[in-house]
């Protein structure tokens, strides 16, 4: 790992933000659009496939730092999704797509009902719900079940959306339907559905940490500038304490997001649950505090705070809400028994 390379990547993001992250770009993307210029600039700067650089030069934590930083700037790009897809494919020993945008998709409600099915000819039939950036994807990685019930990880061409929608932040969240569609590759993989969910959730935790840091930066600056009753509101103890709690929640989200992956960038149900549970909780409390501090300035689209907070409100529920992951984690912990809790935590 080299912190020089990490710093260089983050500075590159800052530079692109200064040039490309205009109000116009954000407004055009807000509602399901795609920021082509920004994405192409990120591509040209080597950021969209930074995770494919030689392992000697960068590590998984660098990639999480990069994703966190794009989320700090609330960039409307599918960087987390393409990295999640590649990590899933790599872990399953599948081929890396060469070009285009490969994202990830899940079925509704924690895969509980109806994974897409794979027939004997290797064709997929089924529905992926609210796929992030679905309409803009070239390919999508998802879990499917073959006729004999074996779980598979699948990569397939993304079909035209069966239904289009957006999340609270105006990012595309589209349903993708497969009707006996040929897949590019499928590999048997135990718990494929859980792995896709966990990978998505762990990356959302990283993004939440980033967006909270972005919101914190904005409200700290605002509290130092905005004057009421003859002094900056940041001088009022009540405001200071809200900012302190926001800073603490931001730090906790970051720490939890770090726990979401091991050193090699792998995740599992337990790690993802820890990360998404805590980060989701921080997203709720943090967004509320940021808006309270910003007052009426923050609750319209005139100010930029909403780019972060609308993402926080969506991301906390995507790839499983904090409540869903808390329930899974709690069940896991209770089944293992109290004496197993500390050994589990101290291994992380």
């Amino acid at each position: 790992m080299s912190h020089d390379i990490r710093d260089m990547m983050l500075r590159t993001v800052d530079r692109l933000v200064a040039v490309e992250a205009t109000r116009q770009m954000r407004s055009d993307a807000d509602g399901g659009g795609f920021p082509d210029r920004l994405w192409q600039a990120m591509d040209a700067a080597g950021l969209t496939d930074a995770d494919t650089i030689d392992d000697e030069m960068t590590d998984a934590a660098d990639m999480q730092a990069l994703v966190r930083h794009t989320a700090r700037h609330a960039l409307p790009v599918p960087l987390a999704e393409v990295m999640a897809a590649r990590r899933l494919l790599k872990a399953a020993g599948m081929a890396m797509p060469a070009d285009g945008i490969t994202g990830i998709g899940t079925t509704a409600r924690d895969h509980a009902d109806g994974l897409p099915r794979l027939d004997d000819a290797g064709r997929a039939t089924g529905m992926l719900h609210r796929v992030p950036f679905g309409r803009h994807l070239t390919r999508v990685v998802f879990a499917a079940t073959s006729g004999d019930g074996t779980a598979h990880l699948v990569v397939a061409e993304a079909p035209a959306p069966a239904a289009t929608d957006i999340n609270l932040a105006g990012e595309a969240r589209d349903d993708l339907a497969f009707d006996a569609a040929p897949v590019i590759e499928a590999r048997p993989l135990v718990d494929a559905a859980d792995q896709v969910m966990a990978m998505g959730a762990a990356f959302r935790a990283v993004q939440i940490a980033g967006a909270l840091a972005g919101a914190l930066g904005q409200v700290v600056a605002y509290a130092g500038e905005r004057e009421q009753f003859g002094r900056p509101i940041g001088k009022f103890q009540a405001v200071q304490h809200m900012l302190a709690v926001l800073a603490a929640e931001t730090a906790a989200a970051s720490a939890a997001a770090d726990l979401g992956f091991d050193d090699a960038g792998r995740t599992d149900t337990c790690r993802a649950a820890l990360a998404k549970s805590r980060a989701g909780q921080a997203a709720t409390d943090g967004a509320a505090l940021a808006h309270q501090i910003m007052g009426a300035m923050g609750f319209t689209r005139e100010h930029s705070l909403h780019y972060q907070t609308r993402r926080l409100w969506s991301w906390r529920d995507e790839f499983g809400s904090d409540a869903l992951w808390q329930a899974r984690l709690g069940t896991l912990v209770v089944r293992a028994g109290g004496d197993a809790l500390w050994p589990m935590l101290s291994r992380l």
């Binding site: 906790a252 984690l329 004496d339």
Partner: protein, 384 residues
């Protein structure tokens, strides 16, 4: 704006072997009836257990071997402490001496103080109390009125300390006293620290009973107590800097989020084997909070190991950590159908809950109130 970062700590290779060693020791101690897990908090005062810890080399682990210490890293010590606390061990007797008093003596004490006291602390036979708070000086430590005046060969201390944990059964206090008149220009100047044996002439210790009806706290009255020059810690007037540095150790350790973990373990077992969704959510939420806290706390241990002074980060961990441990009895009340009890003879779950409910208010006060900590964090954000 400063963003607080908690870089992951890199545990030394010896840490995992030590973890196993502590777990084996605790299993053995439980088997011998030395303590009962899930019935204590870490602050339980048990000299016999402390002596065993001393024999095993679990006290003063980071101090030089010439003073009886273990010469190990702060991260190794961290692993030992978190295992002790997670295992429900009664480490309260030697806790303050090991966590902060010995550290201060090692770095700022006289040669005589080091040679006299540190080996006894390491042996688990010498316990300390903290003489910072006073009736009119709690959060506002700089308002301390206890004063030390120069006399032949040392200082004469007169004043009053309160909320002094274990003063009736510890051997020494480190006392924060004014060695100079208070000045409005620099409120933090003129404070010094002294090591004072609790059996010194002129000391009177009076009990202050806690909400449980137990005797942990005391009022300690000093009436012309003599402290020789070589029992001053650090330079005259350096008390404030030392006290605030000491608080990094006091605020970021596992004792700031594991005080009620024994109750959480009981809640986990009582909810099994198939918890309903509401119970699973409550428990999962607490476990995720705990995991994040441990990550931040180990990160600070790593910073302390590198001789950094993460004062604001420590305040942040204490604020989050104590809110966490304070919330556990409420989760227990929601999920367990039992009434808390306060019968001191009864060591069952109801008594553990009862004890925890009435102990909980102290968590967000001792070692720095929530309000003080949030003020410090705001300062760290550049707002003050």
């Amino acid at each position: 704006m400063q963003e607080f970062t908690f870089a992951p700590a890199v545990m030394p290779p010896a840490a995992e072997a030590l973890r196993t060693e502590v777990r084996d020791f605790l299993a053995d101690a439980r088997a011998r009836g030395l303590f009962t897990p899930r019935r204590h908090s870490w602050s339980s005062f048990d000299p016999a257990f402390s002596a065993e810890c001393g024999q095993r080399g679990f006290i003063g682990m980071t101090w030089p071997k010439e003073f009886g210490g273990g010469g190990r890293s702060a991260l190794e010590r961290y692993v030992m402490t978190e295992e002790m606390l997670a295992g429900g061990a009664p480490v309260g007797a030697h806790w303050v001496a090991d966590r902060q008093s010995g550290h201060q003596i090692l770095h700022h004490g006289s040669e005589r103080a080091k040679a006299l006291i540190l080996p006894q602390i390491c042996a688990g036979t010498c316990f300390f109390g903290i003489g910072m708070s006073e009736p009119d000086s709690g959060s506002d430590l700089a308002a301390a009125r206890t004063r030390a005046v120069r006399v032949d060969g040392g200082w004469s201390i007169t004043g009053r300390k309160v909320w002094t944990s274990n003063a009736h059964r510890a051997h020494y206090l480190i006392v924060l006293a004014r060695t100079e008149q208070r000045s409005d220009a620099n409120r933090h100047a003129g404070l010094s620290q002294f090591i004072v044996p609790l059996d010194a002439e002129g000391i009177e210790v009076r009990p202050i009973y806690n909400l449980y009806g137990g005797h942990d706290f005391n009022e300690v009255v000093f009436d012309g107590v003599f402290a020789p020059d070589d029992m001053m810690i650090g330079q005259e007037g350096s008390g404030w800097t030392m006290v605030t540095g000491e608080l990094s150790f006091e605020r970021s350790g596992p004792d700031r989020f594991l005080s009620t973990v024994q109750l959480l373990l009981e809640v986990i077992d009582a909810s099994g084997p198939e918890p309903d969704r509401a119970a699973a959510i409550d428990i999962g939420r607490k476990v995720a909070e705990l995991a994040a806290l441990r990550r931040m706390s180990t990160s600070i241990a790593g910073m302390l190991d590198r001789d950094l002074r993460p004062i604001t980060e420590a305040a942040l961990v204490k604020d989050l950590g104590t809110a966490f441990e304070q919330s556990i009895p409420e989760v227990a009340r929601r999920l367990l159908a039992i009434e808390p009890r306060i019968n001191r003879e009864d060591g069952d779950l109801a008594a553990l809950l009862g004890h925890t409910v009435v102990a909980a208010p102290a968590f967000t006060i001792r070692g720095g109130t929530r309000e003080i900590l949030r003020g410090m964090i705001a300062r760290g954000l550049g707002l003050r």
